[in-house]
Symmetry: C2
Subunit: 194 residues, 2 copies
DNA sequence: AAAAACATACCGACTAGTCGGTTTATTCTT
DNA sequence: AAGAATAAACCGACTAGTCGGTATGTTTTT
């Protein structure tokens, strides 16, 4: 029966996500992951070719979540999309504590590993392109002031990344959800034609 | 003569900065650092208590650079300071390629190590406070529109961090210096009273 | 001569990955 | 339906190598 197999596999993924977040890619050993998932090393290498392959599998899962989020906000006007994003903040920051260290691990590994970089940077560029075309649309339909969509998109993505990074580094430093919401408002204000 | 001693120490710091950036804290071994600095392991442990202590010494150096940059832009009006910062971008992004992976390593270590977190988060909070008071001053002296200084400061710091992060992850993805300059202009435009 | 600076050899703990063998589930044969 | 044959899932001891750190000895500086 492949039910057992799949449960083992997902247990490995869960434990890996947890331990990579807590300790980092290097510090979380394969033995640790096996112990946490309560499976043997044999089972581990039956399901994953290597530790790096496991990491890539984890990355894939994350990227799909982001892509779905983008997909969900199609067919809306530019300002509407921003408002919707604002609505998603509570969820993002509620789960941030769990996923963000993992994300950071992705970034770091990506900056050093060509394979991982390829897998992680392509979707991220799509993200930038999405915002660029969103703003371009907003400018063309007259709801936004005449800004350079490329630059504005970079600014938005930068602010988002920086905010996530800060909320990870210093969770108690501010009410990040509120900051995110009000920052979006501020950015939107500077974009919307009065 | 302590000249030799000091040169050894700075050689260790240089090699460590280089290798930590290239390979990360864990992957860059003490032996690697010693080999690169062309000194022995005995010399290494004569100058630094541990690998972590070396890391903290490196962190201290970086934080001093930031503090000096803040110090240098005192006694100026709010918009002036922004303009001056814009002028510093070429330098920042020229040296970013060397220092940023190191910075990322700091962030990652900080998120996991209490000691390093304490050392790195305190100055970073000062940085936020600096911008808050800068914007507050701008609002009070009438050159800025009436924004919440706290929020605007968060937004600026976030954008800066995100931009640095992106330029590290995807150096060829954009002309980052230009993006930084124009983003600053855009942010400043949304702040300055017309 | 004393002390600081450096070199070398070494240690125990830990790591990713391997491999021969066992258990469990599925399919085929009668 | 019962049993034999096959395949997938899993186990855990083992390897070969790396790591941070130390112990001990040598050179250089004062």
């Amino acid at each position: 029966m492949q039910q057992r197999s799949e449960e083992t596999r997902s247990r490995i993924l869960e434990s890996a996500a947890k331990l990579f977040s807590e300790r980092g890619f290097n510090a979380a050993s394969v033995d640790d992951i096996c112990a946490d998932a309560k499976i043997s090393k044999g089972a581990f290498y039956h399901h994953f070719e290597s530790k790096q392959a496991l990491f890539l599998a984890l990355l894939d899962g994350w990227l799909k979540i982001i892509d779905n989020a983008i997909e969900a906000s199609k067919d809306k006007t530019a300002p509407e999309t921003f408002v919707q994003m604002t609505g998603a903040f509570p969820y993002i920051f509620a789960t941030a504590g769990n996923h963000l260290p993992m994300f950071m691990e992705f970034w770091l590994q990506a900056s050093r590993d060509e394979k991982i970089w390829q897998a992680s940077i392509a979707p991220y560029r799509r993200y930038h392109q999405y915002f660029t075309s969103l703003i371009k649309k907003g400018v063309e339909e007259g709801s936004f002031v005449n800004v350079d969509p490329q630059i504005a998109s970079r600014l938005i993505v930068s602010a988002a990344m920086g905010l996530l990074l800060q909320s990870l580094l210093d969770p108690e430093g501010a009410k990040w959800e509120k900051v995110a919401r009000e920052s979006t408002t501020m950015l939107l204000n500077s974009l919307v034609k009065k």
